[in-house]
Protein backbone atom coordinates (compact mmCIF):
# COMPACT_ATOMS: atom_id res chain seq x y z
CA UNK A 1 0.00 0.00 0.00
CA UNK A 2 1.44 3.37 -0.92
CA UNK A 3 1.48 6.15 1.64
CA UNK A 4 -0.21 9.21 0.20
CA UNK A 5 0.42 12.68 1.54
CA UNK A 6 -3.11 13.56 2.64
CA UNK A 7 -2.92 16.97 4.20
CA UNK A 8 -0.98 20.08 3.42
CA UNK A 9 1.03 21.31 6.37
CA UNK A 10 -1.31 23.54 8.36
CA UNK A 11 -2.45 23.97 11.92
CA UNK A 12 -5.86 22.59 11.19
CA UNK A 13 -8.62 22.20 8.67
CA UNK A 14 -12.22 23.21 8.17
CA UNK A 15 -14.23 20.64 6.28
CA UNK A 16 -17.46 21.75 4.62
CA UNK A 17 -19.43 18.52 4.86
CA UNK A 18 -21.89 18.16 1.97
CA UNK A 19 -25.45 18.65 3.28
CA UNK A 20 -24.01 18.66 6.78
CA UNK A 21 -22.03 20.52 9.41
CA UNK A 22 -18.68 22.28 9.36
CA UNK A 23 -16.04 20.01 10.79
CA UNK A 24 -13.21 21.86 12.50
CA UNK A 25 -10.02 20.10 13.54
CA UNK A 26 -6.66 21.32 14.69
CA UNK A 27 -5.65 24.03 17.11
CA UNK A 28 -8.35 26.63 17.62
CA UNK A 29 -10.41 28.32 20.30
CA UNK A 30 -14.18 28.39 20.15
CA UNK A 31 -15.39 31.59 21.81
CA UNK A 32 -18.54 33.67 22.23
CA UNK A 33 -18.65 37.15 20.65
CA UNK A 34 -17.33 38.55 23.94
CA UNK A 35 -14.44 36.12 23.90
CA UNK A 36 -15.57 33.65 26.56
CA UNK A 37 -14.75 30.04 25.82
CA UNK A 38 -17.63 27.88 24.57
CA UNK A 39 -17.72 24.61 26.55
CA UNK A 40 -16.04 21.97 24.45
CA UNK A 41 -15.65 18.26 25.15
CA UNK A 42 -13.62 17.15 22.13
CA UNK A 43 -10.75 18.15 19.92
CA UNK A 44 -12.57 17.91 16.59
CA UNK A 45 -16.01 19.50 16.53
CA UNK A 46 -18.91 19.65 14.10
CA UNK A 47 -20.52 23.10 13.97
CA UNK A 48 -24.18 23.38 13.05
CA UNK A 49 -24.68 24.79 9.56
CA UNK A 50 -28.40 24.15 9.02
CA UNK A 51 -29.58 26.13 12.05
CA UNK A 52 -31.78 23.32 13.37
CA UNK A 53 -29.49 21.76 15.97
CA UNK A 54 -30.73 21.60 19.54
CA UNK A 55 -27.17 21.81 20.87
CA UNK A 56 -25.83 24.78 18.91
CA UNK A 57 -23.14 25.73 18.15
CA UNK A 58 -22.59 22.00 17.74
CA UNK A 59 -24.25 19.70 15.22
CA UNK A 60 -26.68 17.07 16.51
CA UNK A 61 -27.45 15.46 13.16
CA UNK A 62 -30.81 17.23 12.74
CA UNK A 63 -29.76 18.47 9.27
CA UNK A 64 -30.64 14.99 8.03
CA UNK A 65 -34.21 15.30 9.29
CA UNK A 66 -34.79 18.81 7.93
CA UNK A 67 -33.23 17.71 4.62
CA UNK A 68 -30.69 20.52 4.72
CA UNK A 69 -28.89 20.88 1.39
CA UNK A 70 -25.68 22.72 0.69
CA UNK A 71 -25.65 24.18 -2.79
CA UNK A 72 -24.09 21.91 -5.35
CA UNK A 73 -21.46 24.50 -6.21
CA UNK A 74 -20.65 25.54 -2.64
CA UNK A 75 -18.01 22.91 -2.15
CA UNK A 76 -15.79 22.99 -5.21
CA UNK A 77 -12.82 22.20 -3.03
CA UNK A 78 -14.01 20.38 0.02
CA UNK A 79 -11.20 21.33 2.30
CA UNK A 80 -9.78 24.71 3.20
CA UNK A 81 -6.75 25.09 5.37
CA UNK A 82 -6.59 27.55 8.23
Amino acid sequence: MTQVQQEPAADGSIVLCPDGPILVRGNFELVTPSGDPVPRQRKTVALCRCGASAIKPYCDGTHKMVRFRTEADATPSKKETV
Binding site: Q3, K43, A46, I55
Partner: protein, 351 residues
Protein backbone atom coordinates in the same frame (compact mmCIF):
# COMPACT_ATOMS: atom_id res chain seq x y z
CA UNK B 1 -15.52 -11.72 32.51
CA UNK B 2 -17.22 -14.41 34.57
CA UNK B 3 -17.89 -17.60 32.59
CA UNK B 4 -21.60 -17.65 31.71
CA UNK B 5 -24.00 -20.57 32.05
CA UNK B 6 -23.80 -22.92 29.05
CA UNK B 7 -26.73 -22.82 26.62
CA UNK B 8 -26.23 -26.16 24.94
CA UNK B 9 -23.67 -28.84 24.13
CA UNK B 10 -21.22 -26.55 22.28
CA UNK B 11 -20.87 -23.93 25.00
CA UNK B 12 -20.94 -26.68 27.63
CA UNK B 13 -18.10 -28.55 25.92
CA UNK B 14 -16.17 -25.30 25.42
CA UNK B 15 -16.37 -24.26 29.08
CA UNK B 16 -15.31 -27.77 30.13
CA UNK B 17 -12.28 -27.54 27.87
CA UNK B 18 -11.35 -24.04 29.05
CA UNK B 19 -11.34 -25.22 32.67
CA UNK B 20 -8.17 -27.18 31.89
CA UNK B 21 -4.77 -26.19 30.54
CA UNK B 22 -4.30 -25.64 26.79
CA UNK B 23 -3.28 -28.88 25.12
CA UNK B 24 -3.83 -30.95 28.26
CA UNK B 25 -6.79 -32.89 26.88
CA UNK B 26 -6.53 -33.39 23.10
CA UNK B 27 -9.29 -35.99 23.19
CA UNK B 28 -11.79 -33.52 24.68
CA UNK B 29 -10.75 -30.96 22.07
CA UNK B 30 -11.31 -33.46 19.24
CA UNK B 31 -14.65 -34.46 20.70
CA UNK B 32 -15.78 -30.82 20.81
CA UNK B 33 -14.60 -30.26 17.24
CA UNK B 34 -16.60 -33.28 16.05
CA UNK B 35 -19.61 -32.16 18.07
CA UNK B 36 -19.55 -28.74 16.41
CA UNK B 37 -19.09 -30.21 12.93
CA UNK B 38 -22.02 -32.52 13.56
CA UNK B 39 -24.27 -29.93 15.17
CA UNK B 40 -23.91 -26.94 12.85
CA UNK B 41 -25.71 -28.49 9.85
CA UNK B 42 -28.82 -29.03 11.96
CA UNK B 43 -28.85 -25.55 13.51
CA UNK B 44 -31.78 -23.73 11.94
CA UNK B 45 -30.68 -20.14 12.33
CA UNK B 46 -27.14 -19.55 13.54
CA UNK B 47 -27.91 -15.91 14.35
CA UNK B 48 -30.63 -16.82 16.83
CA UNK B 49 -28.95 -19.94 18.24
CA UNK B 50 -28.02 -19.28 21.86
CA UNK B 51 -25.50 -22.11 22.09
CA UNK B 52 -23.56 -21.04 18.97
CA UNK B 53 -23.67 -17.32 19.80
CA UNK B 54 -22.58 -17.84 23.41
CA UNK B 55 -19.70 -20.11 22.37
CA UNK B 56 -18.58 -17.53 19.79
CA UNK B 57 -18.94 -14.72 22.30
CA UNK B 58 -16.68 -16.50 24.78
CA UNK B 59 -14.15 -17.48 22.11
CA UNK B 60 -13.92 -13.82 21.09
CA UNK B 61 -13.74 -12.79 24.73
CA UNK B 62 -10.37 -14.56 24.97
CA UNK B 63 -9.07 -11.76 22.70
CA UNK B 64 -10.62 -8.98 24.80
CA UNK B 65 -10.57 -9.06 28.60
CA UNK B 66 -10.42 -12.84 28.94
CA UNK B 67 -12.56 -15.22 30.99
CA UNK B 68 -12.17 -15.56 34.76
CA UNK B 69 -10.11 -18.59 35.71
CA UNK B 70 -9.23 -19.43 32.10
CA UNK B 71 -5.56 -19.77 31.12
CA UNK B 72 -4.66 -16.80 28.86
CA UNK B 73 -2.71 -19.12 26.58
CA UNK B 74 -6.00 -20.49 25.22
CA UNK B 75 -6.31 -17.28 23.17
CA UNK B 76 -4.06 -18.54 20.36
CA UNK B 77 -4.56 -22.26 20.83
CA UNK B 78 -4.73 -23.60 17.25
CA UNK B 79 -7.58 -25.97 18.10
CA UNK B 80 -9.68 -23.15 19.51
CA UNK B 81 -8.96 -20.92 16.52
CA UNK B 82 -10.10 -23.79 14.29
CA UNK B 83 -13.24 -24.13 16.39
CA UNK B 84 -13.91 -20.41 16.12
CA UNK B 85 -13.56 -20.60 12.34
CA UNK B 86 -16.03 -23.49 12.22
CA UNK B 87 -18.57 -21.29 14.00
CA UNK B 88 -17.68 -18.12 12.14
CA UNK B 89 -18.23 -19.56 8.68
CA UNK B 90 -21.99 -20.19 8.91
CA UNK B 91 -22.37 -17.02 11.00
CA UNK B 92 -20.78 -14.92 8.27
CA UNK B 93 -22.94 -16.62 5.64
CA UNK B 94 -26.07 -15.91 7.66
CA UNK B 95 -25.02 -12.27 8.10
CA UNK B 96 -24.41 -11.96 4.37
CA UNK B 97 -27.87 -13.23 3.51
CA UNK B 98 -29.50 -11.06 6.20
CA UNK B 99 -27.57 -8.07 4.83
CA UNK B 100 -28.63 -8.84 1.24
CA UNK B 101 -32.27 -8.95 2.31
CA UNK B 102 -31.90 -5.69 4.19
CA UNK B 103 -30.14 -3.98 1.29
CA UNK B 104 -33.18 -4.54 -0.92
CA UNK B 105 -33.04 -4.77 -4.69
CA UNK B 106 -29.67 -4.46 -6.43
CA UNK B 107 -28.74 -1.09 -7.81
CA UNK B 108 -27.63 0.11 -4.44
CA UNK B 109 -23.95 0.07 -5.27
CA UNK B 110 -23.18 2.40 -8.14
CA UNK B 111 -20.81 1.04 -10.73
CA UNK B 112 -17.26 2.27 -11.08
CA UNK B 113 -14.86 3.60 -8.49
CA UNK B 114 -16.45 5.86 -5.90
CA UNK B 115 -14.67 8.77 -4.29
CA UNK B 116 -14.97 9.31 -0.56
CA UNK B 117 -17.84 11.81 -0.84
CA UNK B 118 -19.81 9.35 -2.95
CA UNK B 119 -19.18 6.52 -0.46
CA UNK B 120 -20.37 8.76 2.38
CA UNK B 121 -23.46 9.66 0.37
CA UNK B 122 -24.31 6.00 -0.24
CA UNK B 123 -23.89 5.22 3.46
CA UNK B 124 -25.93 8.23 4.60
CA UNK B 125 -28.60 7.11 2.13
CA UNK B 126 -28.66 3.63 3.67
CA UNK B 127 -28.83 5.03 7.17
CA UNK B 128 -31.73 7.29 6.17
CA UNK B 129 -33.72 4.31 4.87
CA UNK B 130 -33.49 2.73 8.30
CA UNK B 131 -36.87 3.75 9.66
CA UNK B 132 -36.62 0.97 12.25
CA UNK B 133 -39.48 -0.31 14.34
CA UNK B 134 -39.31 2.65 16.67
CA UNK B 135 -37.25 1.65 19.70
CA UNK B 136 -36.05 5.20 20.34
CA UNK B 137 -39.55 6.62 20.05
CA UNK B 138 -40.84 4.04 22.51
CA UNK B 139 -38.02 4.69 24.99
CA UNK B 140 -38.62 8.44 24.73
CA UNK B 141 -42.36 8.39 25.27
CA UNK B 142 -43.63 5.13 26.73
CA UNK B 143 -41.03 2.79 28.20
CA UNK B 144 -41.51 1.82 31.83
CA UNK B 145 -38.63 1.98 34.29
CA UNK B 146 -38.30 -1.79 34.07
CA UNK B 147 -38.10 -1.55 30.26
CA UNK B 148 -35.40 1.13 30.55
CA UNK B 149 -33.40 -1.27 32.70
CA UNK B 150 -33.87 -4.08 30.16
CA UNK B 151 -32.83 -1.70 27.39
CA UNK B 152 -29.59 -0.93 29.24
CA UNK B 153 -28.96 -4.63 29.87
CA UNK B 154 -29.17 -5.47 26.14
CA UNK B 155 -26.88 -2.56 25.33
CA UNK B 156 -24.42 -3.41 28.13
CA UNK B 157 -23.08 -6.44 26.27
CA UNK B 158 -21.40 -4.05 23.84
CA UNK B 159 -21.39 -0.68 25.54
CA UNK B 160 -19.23 -1.79 28.48
CA UNK B 161 -16.50 -2.44 25.91
CA UNK B 162 -17.67 0.27 23.53
CA UNK B 163 -15.32 0.90 20.60
CA UNK B 164 -13.07 -2.10 21.29
CA UNK B 165 -14.11 -4.26 18.28
CA UNK B 166 -13.39 -1.42 15.85
CA UNK B 167 -9.99 -0.79 17.39
CA UNK B 168 -8.79 -4.13 15.95
CA UNK B 169 -8.98 -2.50 12.52
CA UNK B 170 -6.47 0.27 13.22
CA UNK B 171 -3.27 -1.61 12.26
CA UNK B 172 -5.05 -3.07 9.22
CA UNK B 173 -5.65 0.36 7.71
CA UNK B 174 -3.32 3.03 6.37
CA UNK B 175 -3.25 6.73 5.61
CA UNK B 176 -6.49 8.68 5.69
CA UNK B 177 -8.71 5.78 6.82
CA UNK B 178 -6.37 4.94 9.69
CA UNK B 179 -6.09 8.56 10.85
CA UNK B 180 -9.89 8.81 10.75
CA UNK B 181 -10.41 5.68 12.82
CA UNK B 182 -7.83 6.78 15.40
CA UNK B 183 -9.48 10.20 15.62
CA UNK B 184 -12.88 8.60 16.30
CA UNK B 185 -11.51 6.04 18.72
CA UNK B 186 -9.57 8.63 20.72
CA UNK B 187 -12.90 10.39 21.28
CA UNK B 188 -14.63 7.08 22.14
CA UNK B 189 -11.94 6.43 24.74
CA UNK B 190 -12.46 9.82 26.36
CA UNK B 191 -9.68 11.84 24.74
CA UNK B 192 -7.28 10.84 27.52
CA UNK B 193 -9.80 11.14 30.35
CA UNK B 194 -10.77 7.69 31.68
CA UNK B 195 -13.98 9.03 33.21
CA UNK B 196 -15.04 10.30 29.76
CA UNK B 197 -14.58 6.92 28.08
CA UNK B 198 -17.90 5.98 26.56
CA UNK B 199 -17.82 2.62 28.33
CA UNK B 200 -17.29 4.48 31.64
CA UNK B 201 -20.20 6.84 30.88
CA UNK B 202 -22.38 3.83 30.16
CA UNK B 203 -21.34 2.11 33.40
CA UNK B 204 -22.38 5.28 35.24
CA UNK B 205 -25.80 5.16 33.58
CA UNK B 206 -26.21 1.51 34.63
CA UNK B 207 -25.28 2.27 38.22
CA UNK B 208 -27.81 5.11 38.19
CA UNK B 209 -30.54 2.54 37.52
CA UNK B 210 -29.26 0.15 40.15
CA UNK B 211 -27.73 -2.27 37.63
CA UNK B 212 -24.52 -4.28 37.85
CA UNK B 213 -21.91 -2.45 35.74
CA UNK B 214 -19.33 -5.24 35.73
CA UNK B 215 -18.33 -6.25 32.22
CA UNK B 216 -20.35 -9.24 31.01
CA UNK B 217 -22.50 -9.21 34.15
CA UNK B 218 -25.66 -9.70 32.09
CA UNK B 219 -24.46 -12.10 29.39
CA UNK B 220 -26.64 -14.84 30.93
CA UNK B 221 -29.68 -12.56 30.77
CA UNK B 222 -29.72 -11.64 27.09
CA UNK B 223 -31.02 -13.61 24.10
CA UNK B 224 -28.86 -14.93 21.24
CA UNK B 225 -29.63 -11.96 18.99
CA UNK B 226 -28.07 -9.53 21.52
CA UNK B 227 -24.90 -11.61 21.54
CA UNK B 228 -25.00 -11.91 17.74
CA UNK B 229 -24.96 -8.13 17.28
CA UNK B 230 -21.72 -7.95 19.27
CA UNK B 231 -20.22 -11.12 17.75
CA UNK B 232 -20.77 -9.53 14.33
CA UNK B 233 -18.42 -6.68 15.33
CA UNK B 234 -15.80 -9.07 16.67
CA UNK B 235 -16.00 -11.15 13.49
CA UNK B 236 -15.48 -8.03 11.36
CA UNK B 237 -12.83 -6.57 13.64
CA UNK B 238 -10.71 -9.68 14.22
CA UNK B 239 -10.55 -10.80 10.58
CA UNK B 240 -8.32 -8.53 8.53
CA UNK B 241 -10.02 -9.66 5.31
CA UNK B 242 -13.23 -8.06 6.67
CA UNK B 243 -11.70 -4.63 7.32
CA UNK B 244 -14.13 -3.14 4.83
CA UNK B 245 -17.05 -4.56 6.81
CA UNK B 246 -15.85 -3.16 10.14
CA UNK B 247 -15.43 0.28 8.52
CA UNK B 248 -18.95 0.11 7.07
CA UNK B 249 -20.25 -1.12 10.41
CA UNK B 250 -18.80 1.82 12.32
CA UNK B 251 -20.03 4.31 9.73
CA UNK B 252 -23.64 3.10 9.99
CA UNK B 253 -23.43 2.88 13.77
CA UNK B 254 -22.42 6.52 13.91
CA UNK B 255 -24.93 7.60 11.27
CA UNK B 256 -27.87 6.06 13.11
CA UNK B 257 -26.93 7.32 16.56
CA UNK B 258 -27.37 11.05 17.22
CA UNK B 259 -31.15 11.31 16.99
CA UNK B 260 -31.92 8.00 18.79
CA UNK B 261 -29.59 8.99 21.63
CA UNK B 262 -31.42 12.29 21.99
CA UNK B 263 -34.65 10.32 22.35
CA UNK B 264 -33.11 7.77 24.74
CA UNK B 265 -31.96 10.65 26.93
CA UNK B 266 -35.50 12.05 26.86
CA UNK B 267 -36.85 8.70 28.05
CA UNK B 268 -34.57 8.67 31.08
CA UNK B 269 -35.30 12.35 31.82
CA UNK B 270 -39.02 11.52 31.65
CA UNK B 271 -38.43 9.12 34.54
CA UNK B 272 -36.66 11.86 36.53
CA UNK B 273 -33.05 10.85 35.94
CA UNK B 274 -30.46 13.63 35.88
CA UNK B 275 -27.38 14.29 33.78
CA UNK B 276 -25.42 11.67 35.68
CA UNK B 277 -27.60 9.04 34.04
CA UNK B 278 -28.32 10.77 30.72
CA UNK B 279 -24.71 11.91 30.25
CA UNK B 280 -23.96 8.83 28.16
CA UNK B 281 -26.78 9.62 25.72
CA UNK B 282 -26.15 13.39 25.69
CA UNK B 283 -22.50 12.74 24.85
CA UNK B 284 -23.50 10.56 21.88
CA UNK B 285 -25.78 13.20 20.40
CA UNK B 286 -22.80 15.52 19.99
CA UNK B 287 -19.99 13.00 19.48
CA UNK B 288 -21.71 10.92 16.84
CA UNK B 289 -22.64 13.98 14.78
CA UNK B 290 -18.86 14.46 14.48
CA UNK B 291 -18.04 10.77 14.08
CA UNK B 292 -20.58 10.11 11.35
CA UNK B 293 -18.88 12.65 9.10
CA UNK B 294 -15.41 11.24 9.74
CA UNK B 295 -16.53 7.59 9.57
CA UNK B 296 -18.49 8.01 6.36
CA UNK B 297 -16.07 10.15 4.39
CA UNK B 298 -12.58 9.60 5.77
CA UNK B 299 -12.78 6.08 7.21
CA UNK B 300 -15.13 4.20 4.86
CA UNK B 301 -14.67 6.61 1.95
CA UNK B 302 -10.92 6.86 2.43
CA UNK B 303 -10.66 3.07 2.60
CA UNK B 304 -12.65 2.60 -0.62
CA UNK B 305 -10.52 5.21 -2.38
CA UNK B 306 -7.38 3.34 -1.30
CA UNK B 307 -8.81 -0.13 -1.92
CA UNK B 308 -11.80 0.08 -4.31
CA UNK B 309 -12.29 -3.69 -4.18
CA UNK B 310 -13.45 -3.32 -0.56
CA UNK B 311 -16.61 -1.37 -1.45
CA UNK B 312 -18.87 -4.48 -1.38
CA UNK B 313 -17.61 -5.37 2.09
CA UNK B 314 -18.10 -1.80 3.34
CA UNK B 315 -21.71 -2.07 2.18
CA UNK B 316 -21.99 -5.56 3.68
CA UNK B 317 -20.87 -4.26 7.08
CA UNK B 318 -23.28 -1.35 6.82
CA UNK B 319 -26.34 -3.37 5.80
CA UNK B 320 -25.55 -6.18 8.26
CA UNK B 321 -25.83 -3.69 11.13
CA UNK B 322 -29.19 -2.51 9.88
CA UNK B 323 -30.43 -6.09 9.50
CA UNK B 324 -29.24 -7.41 12.86
CA UNK B 325 -30.21 -4.34 14.85
CA UNK B 326 -33.68 -4.43 13.30
CA UNK B 327 -34.02 -8.03 14.48
CA UNK B 328 -32.84 -7.13 17.97
CA UNK B 329 -35.29 -4.24 18.11
CA UNK B 330 -38.11 -6.48 16.86
CA UNK B 331 -37.31 -9.00 19.57
CA UNK B 332 -37.32 -6.41 22.35
CA UNK B 333 -40.35 -4.45 21.14
CA UNK B 334 -42.26 -7.67 20.43
CA UNK B 335 -41.76 -8.84 24.02
CA UNK B 336 -42.73 -5.47 25.46
CA UNK B 337 -45.85 -5.25 23.31
CA UNK B 338 -46.91 -8.59 24.79
CA UNK B 339 -46.32 -7.26 28.26
CA UNK B 340 -43.42 -9.66 28.82
CA UNK B 341 -39.70 -9.36 29.42
CA UNK B 342 -37.25 -9.13 26.53
CA UNK B 343 -34.66 -10.93 28.66
CA UNK B 344 -34.27 -14.68 29.05
CA UNK B 345 -35.73 -14.41 32.51
CA UNK B 346 -37.37 -11.26 33.88
CA UNK B 347 -35.42 -8.98 36.20
CA UNK B 348 -36.62 -8.72 39.76
CA UNK B 349 -38.85 -5.64 40.08
CA UNK B 350 -36.90 -2.38 40.30
CA UNK B 351 -36.12 -1.23 43.81
Amino acid sequence: MKIPEPRGPISDGLFGLLAGEPGADPTAQDTLHRLVTGTLPVVGDVIEDGDVQLALFCLYELHYGGLDGVDDRWEWNPGLIALRQLLEEPFEQALRSAARLSAGPPGLAPAGDLDSDAVAEVLFGLAARDSGPGMSGHVAKKATLQQLREFLIHKSIYQLKEADPHTWAIPRLAGRAKAALVEIQADEYGGGRPDRMHSALFARTMRGLGLDDSYGGYVDAVPAISLASVNMMSLFGLNRRLRGAIAGHLAIYEMTSSRPNQLYGNGFRRHGFDAGVTGYFDEHVEADAVHEQIAGRDLAGGLVEAEPALLPDVLFGATAVLAIDARLTMHIMGAWENGSSSLRSPLPAAA
